[in-house]
Symmetry: C2
Subunit: 165 residues, 2 copies
DNA sequence: CCGCGATGTCTCGACGTCAAGAGAGTTGAT
DNA sequence: ATCAACTCTCTTGACGTCGAGACATCGCGG
């Protein structure tokens, strides 16, 4: 089946036959798919009264394991946002009672953000919902294809994730 | 090589061994890679004094072919933003002299957005820069792998692009 | 023990996006 | 002709993010 990127690439080949636009076949699809996924996630999370950004922060803490606490700095690197944004997010989550701020006992500059019990339950519920939705989206692919796709994508993401790029 | 999603998936398996988190292997990588690509693109475009959103609009017009004009509505569907956003974008691009607004001769509600000569040159230069950067990112993969990856991604994007979802 | 660069968090202003709705114009049925 | 439903673009206000800089603290080298 044809997709929007096929049309996009065809248009470029017509307008700029001198250029090799093959890279777009991969990377434009990644960008557009991510955009679609964002929208779908927003819908899935709204059933749990969560925004995507709330989910990102809560699940980062949830994954950390008991006692479910991380520093704002650690949250930054996991969620790929800036420090000003994270301060704002923590404020809002704290106001909703999903996380709480604690002073870091070993560094007085620092703060620890801890998931509340309510926050943990919300994160768990929303994760289950997200996985159900993602399984539906991936239904198109066989198990072997999913494995291939994951491996190929890993080759592209690894350089970003490992060097400080 | 390991990436951030490997670590993320391992953490979930430790914390929630009852859940099958395999879908994340694919879709979390897509989202994270898109995020990294955004940053890289922003950097590449800054050499041509363009923002990513400016590039998106200018190239949509460029791809349309001579006389390089589309309605705001057509631009919406290609760039996946809302109408308020597009109005704002056109305003700013017009102020910079990269596009101009013309009345649609066949529908007096409508407007046509046309690329100026300056805008066309900018779009062409930025596209060349983008392709160079993307080739570098894809350098990790063989030609056959790029083809596979594109085909697999197409299977995921096609449902979004074809049904009005 | 002191000084100084590095580090961690927060503050602030500017900016881009979204969602909802208003206004103008079009279309087709009566 | 006329009217209602629809389409297209723009306006508005709220919101989340970013980037730069402020401020306190840490920890290493002299």
């Amino acid at each position: 089946m044809e997709d929007e990127v096929d049309r996009l690439v065809a248009a470029w080949r017509r307008e700029r036959p001198d250029l090799d636009v093959e890279p777009l076949e991969v990377l434009s699809r990644v960008s557009r798919l991510a955009r679609h996924l964002d929208r779908a996630r927003r819908l899935a999370f709204s059933e749990h009264s969560l925004e995507p950004w709330e989910f990102d922060v809560l699940t980062a803490l949830r994954r950390a394991g008991s006692p479910y606490q991380l520093s704002p700095g650690q949250l930054l690197t996991q969620t790929l946002v800036t420090s000003g944004t994270m301060t704002n997010r923590i404020d809002r989550l704290a106001k909703k009672g999903l996380v709480e701020r604690l002073p870091d006992p070993s560094d007085r500059r620092g703060v620890l953000v801890r998931l509340t019990d309510v926050g943990r339950d919300r994160a768990d519920q929303a994760l289950a919902g997200l996985l159900a939705q993602e399984r539906a989206i991936l239904g198109e692919l066989s198990s072997a294809q999913r494995g291939e796709l994951a491996a190929l994508l890993r080759q592209l993401t690894a350089p970003f994730d490992n060097v400080p790029g």
